[in-house]
């Protein structure tokens, strides 16, 4: 199987060695052949994708020299695509066709990327396994009985199985990095505010951030160059200038200081995961990075803080799904109140209802101070821990997840166990920090393991530079499941 990177595809298109149409057809052919087993996609847009690729091929050469010329991409199904069904993994939006593109989608298309379809996700991005999609789970291409992680599981699978070289996901508590780790690809959550959230169906507005899945750090940097930057449609999108992230990929780690929070990774981590993580840290050290211990004393409170803050925001954001303006509406309600309640009961799945109620409770009179306000205060302590760590180090390294991919159904009856899968990923979004997960090895059962790198606010360049240098000395990024077993 040929594993193309986006960079190679772009260069082949620009040199005229392979047309955008040929690359698009190859991607669609693989999807057609493999996706019945993987279920990475909820909606394909073969005709639209081929039309856009053909339009790109008709352009004069000078107009084809764009950052993602002819590269097939997949987009998580909670990002609006004009005229193309956008479900957020929910029955509530099963037939929703947005009247506009999310800013990130518009920017990808303007950069020459060809959107081939929408990828499966946990309903409204709530989950850590993609089993909470109303349209059925995606499957991990390394072992079909395993979860791909979530909530952006479909996007991770699409890249891991080489259906597309790039995909977009969204990360609220780890929904890009955790599935990237489970599927053996690179996933980047940018700094909060680096990328526009306009057209991203909101889950938790102070945490949500869109980012890429890719095979290499260079490909992720290419995408971030395209999607980052101020957007008049999103007032929380930063006005800071966007550097050229590919220019930071020098391969040189001399002078870099990597901090390991031993107090956080000390217990509860699977032995195979820990071994791969430590070996990965050795590679960074051999490349010239200094490695020191740091402490994050409040990191252990990350899960309760995250699940109180995120669900509170979700309960407010999902109030808009009432069956009036878009989406599903329950039939035969005789009053407006009955219509709201029945619509939401039938339209939402169990995990979404659970989170809406948890958030409603945390915000309700009598409990607001004890739960929501307290969680927001502890969130400040978590941020301050990172501030202190970054006084000493340039990047913080952690295993992305405590275990490799778990079996489908393993945690479905125990929501708290599922939430604990996010133990190492919730800290970065609570503090607004950029973080990526890169493949750093396999367990003895041949399941991928991810190494997470967290950077300072608006310094995506350092984790990307570190990952790129790591890729120069390792082959984990090349590993791809030949044929889903």
């Amino acid at each position: 199987m040929t594993v193309w990177t986006a960079r190679e595809m772009r260069e082949a298109t620009i040199r005229g060695e392979m047309s955008a149409t040929e690359m698009c057809r190859e991607s669609l052919e693989r999807i057609e052949r493999l996706d019945a087993r993987l279920h990475a996609f909820t909606t394909l847009d073969a005709d639209g994708a081929l039309a856009r690729a053909a339009e790109l091929d008709r352009r004069p050469l000078a107009e084809r020299v764009v950052p993602l010329a002819g590269v097939p991409v997949a987009v998580k199904d909670n990002l609006c695509t004009r005229g193309l069904r956008t479900t957020a993994g929910s029955r509530m939006l099963e037939h929703f066709h947005p009247p506009y593109d999310a800013t990130v989608v518009a920017r990808l298309t303007a950069a020459g990327a060809v959107v081939v379809g929408k990828t499966n996700c946990d309903e409204f991005a709530m989950g850590s396994s993609t089993e909470h999609s109303a349209f059925g789970p995606s499957r991990n291409p390394w072992a079909l009985d395993r979860a791909p992680g979530g909530s952006s599981g479909g996007s991770a699978v699409a890249v891991a199985a080489n259906l597309v070289p790039l995909a977009l996901g969204s990360d609220t508590g780890g929904s890009i990095r955790q599935p990237a780790a489970f599927c053996g690809v690179l996933g980047l959550k940018p700094t909060y505010g680096r990328v526009s959230r306009y057209g991203l169906i909101a889950f938790a507005s102070s945490l949500d951030q869109v980012g890429p899945f890719a095979r290499t750090a260079h490909d992720a940097a290419l995408v971030l160059n395209v999607i980052a930057g101020v957007d008049p449609y999103d007032a929380t999108c930063s006005v800071r200038p966007v550097p050229d992230f590919t220019a930071s990929l020098t391969g040189d780690l001399r002078g870099l200081c990597v901090g390991i929070p031993r107090d956080v990774v000390g217990e509860g981590v699977d032995a195979d995961v820990m071994r791969a993580f430590e070996t990965g840290i050795d590679v960074l050290h051999e490349r010239g990075a200094q490695v020191v211990d740091v402490t994050l004393p409040h990191a252990r409170y990350g899960i309760p803080v995250y699940y109180l803050v995120a669900t509170a925001e979700a309960s407010a954001n999902l109030a808009r799904f009432d069956g009036v303006r878009y989406g599903f509406r329950a039939a035969d309600a005789s009053t407006l109140a009955e219509m709201y309640e029945r619509t939401r009961d039938l339209g939402f799945g169990a995990e979404v209802k659970r989170r809406i109620m948890l958030g409603t409770y945390a915000l309700s009179a009598g409990y607001y101070d004890a739960y929501y306000l307290k969680a927001q205060q502890v969130r400040t302590l978590i941020r301050q821990d990172f501030d202190r760590a970054f006084d000493r180090v340039d990047v913080v390294a952690l295993p992305t997840t405590p275990t490799a991919a778990f079996r489908l159904g393993e945690h479905l009856d125990d929501p708290l166990q599922m939430y604990l899968a996010d133990v190492f990923t919730v800290g970065a979004p609570l503090a607004g920090l950029p973080a990526l997960s890169m493949p750093c090895g396999f367990t003895q059962a041949k399941l991928p393991v991810g190494l997470q790198l967290i950077g300072r606010m608006f310094d995506e360049a350092t984790p990307l530079r570190t990952a790129d240098a790591f890729e120069r000395d390792t082959d984990w990024w090349r590993a791809a499941p030949d044929s889903p077993r």
């Binding site: 009247p99 878009y326 509406r329 407006l336 709201y340 009961d345 109620m357 969680a375 939430y419």
Partner: protein
């Protein structure tokens, strides 16, 4: 912080959230939410006096745009996904009684 959630608590929360739940769901969510809240209770012991809450991680950087007229989403596009629309409006069940 609260003790175990009763089914009545779950009914009250569901009503606030505009969710109609079955009896089985009320039992299930009372048990699951109690367990999650018990886990969340560990933050209660932390001393957070004088710690400001984090509502947003951004030190804003206020983004402003010109105060000028712009075209809105065309009405037909806005109504295109509506479950029920008529005369250019969203249609919902009657809110006021006949005699109102």
């Amino acid at each position: 912080m609260a003790d175990a959630l009763s089914q009545a608590d779950v009914e009250r929360i569901a009503a606030l959230a505009r969710l109609a739940l079955t009896e089985d769901e009320k039992i299930l969510y009372a048990r699951q939410l109690t367990r999650i809240l018990e886990f969340a209770r560990q933050i209660a012991d932390l001393d957070t006096r004088d710690i400001p809450p984090t509502a947003s991680v951004l030190e804003q950087e206020s983004l402003e745009r010109a105060d000028c007229e712009r075209p809105s989403l065309p009405r037909n596009d806005a109504l295109a996904n509506a479950p029920d629309a008529a005369a250019g409006l969203f249609r919902v069940p009657r809110v006021l009684g006949d005699g109102a």
